[in-house]
């Protein structure tokens, strides 16, 4: 093995640290960037390595006005995204002209034993150049073969009619099969944006 030398007080060629060295517990697993894309799917990385997975949505921009961002889960590594889900949803919104100011249960975005895609909670994303959605999705224990798979979703977006909309969705994939892939897409049309998948270390 060649000798390694300190280079400007950094160590070159090092690929691992001893386990005793503290490191971050929020581990970036992968990042995908949509550019006028129909879907983004994460088909690797969802396994028993972590108990909690976090997806971060950065500047998700609909190419078609009034579309809604959504996701579904797979138990067959992405061949099908059709897991049965039950969820509840609520949101608050306020318009740029000062109207609105509403907190309400969102009957459009909840699911009752449905295999359909889970909507993020907004019924009309804007497609103007500056409009987008940001938020996060927590997915708990996707690899469990004992329990259902809970998820908690929160997002904020600038809607097509100039509303600031904050949406909350909580639910479970009603399956005891391991969930090993997840897909994101618009209800109609394509989208842009960045999705990052993290794992939260458990040891």
């Amino acid at each position: 093995m060649p000798l390694k030398f300190a280079n400007n007080q950094s160590l070159t060629g090092t690929t691992a640290l001893p386990s005793a060295v503290p490191t971050d517990n929020l581990i970036l697993i992968s990042t995908q960037t949509a550019s006028n894309s129909a879907t983004i799917s994460f088909t690797t990385g969802l396994d028993s390595t972590y108990d909690t997975y976090e997806f971060k949505f950065i500047n998700i921009h609909a190419r078609t006005a009034n579309a809604e961002f959504s996701f579904n889960i797979s138990t067959d590594a992405g061949s099908n995204y059709n897991v049965t889900k039950t969820s509840s949803a609520f949101r608050a919104y306020h318009r740029e002209d000062g109207t609105g100011g509403v907190l309400e249960y969102n009957t459009v975005s909840d699911l009752a034993q449905s295999t359909g895609f889970q909507l993020f909670g907004e019924q009309g994303l804007g497609s103007d150049a500056d409009k987008c959605l940001n938020g996060e999705l927590l997915l708990f224990n996707p690899s469990s073969t004992t329990y259902v798979k809970h998820y908690i979703l929160k997002s904020n977006d600038l809607g097509n009619f100039d509303y600031s909309v904050v949406s909350y969705v909580g639910g479970y994939a009603n399956t005891t099969s391991a969930c090993n892939a997840i897909q994101f897409k618009m209800s109609t049309g394509n989208f842009d944006g960045i999705i990052k998948m993290y794992g939260v270390k458990k040891s």
């Binding site: 039950t86 009752a112 004992t146």
Partner: protein, 202 residues
Amino acid sequence: MPLIKYNNQSLSSITTLPASIPTGKLKLISSQTASNSASISFTSGLNSTYKVYKFVFSNIHSRTDAVDFTFNLSTDSGSNYNVTKTTTFFRAYQNEAGTDTALEYGTTRDLAQSTAFQIIADTMGSDSDQSGSGSLLLFNPSSTTYVKHFISTFQNYQGDNYSIQTYVAGYGNTTSAVNAVRFQMASGNFDGTIYLYAIDNS
């Protein structure tokens, strides 16, 4: 200073890094797993080292049907869990049949200057596949100046086959340092893992 030698391209014998080297913001302090347990208590690790602590609940499973999952705080290292609290509680739910939905404030589940345990997930199901997961943020527990705020988010498969999101926030109304937290069902035992993380100050 002894020489540090390379060991299969990892650095052996190093247990800390200089402060200038970034190591991330989320630190795992400890985890505990309940297995038909009456309670789980974190009696160490909550101190002035960090300003924000985060508990993550992974598949909390009640052994008794339709029982609430709760927590309380201690200012005496776990001898007593009875800190006075004032809180709010609201939830959204839907049943699997799709016939019952609501977004509502929980007037029977909030606390007003009470030392009782605070509900953070209500009426949890005990079927073999039923569980709940979520998180609890606890802010600056070691402060001797301010009250101790907390914010909880929980998603639960409820005993009557409802999906329920629960949001609880409040404060431990004490200027004593909080140094322990206990989690338990309102009745009966539970399974599941609870992780205690800290958000790095720097």
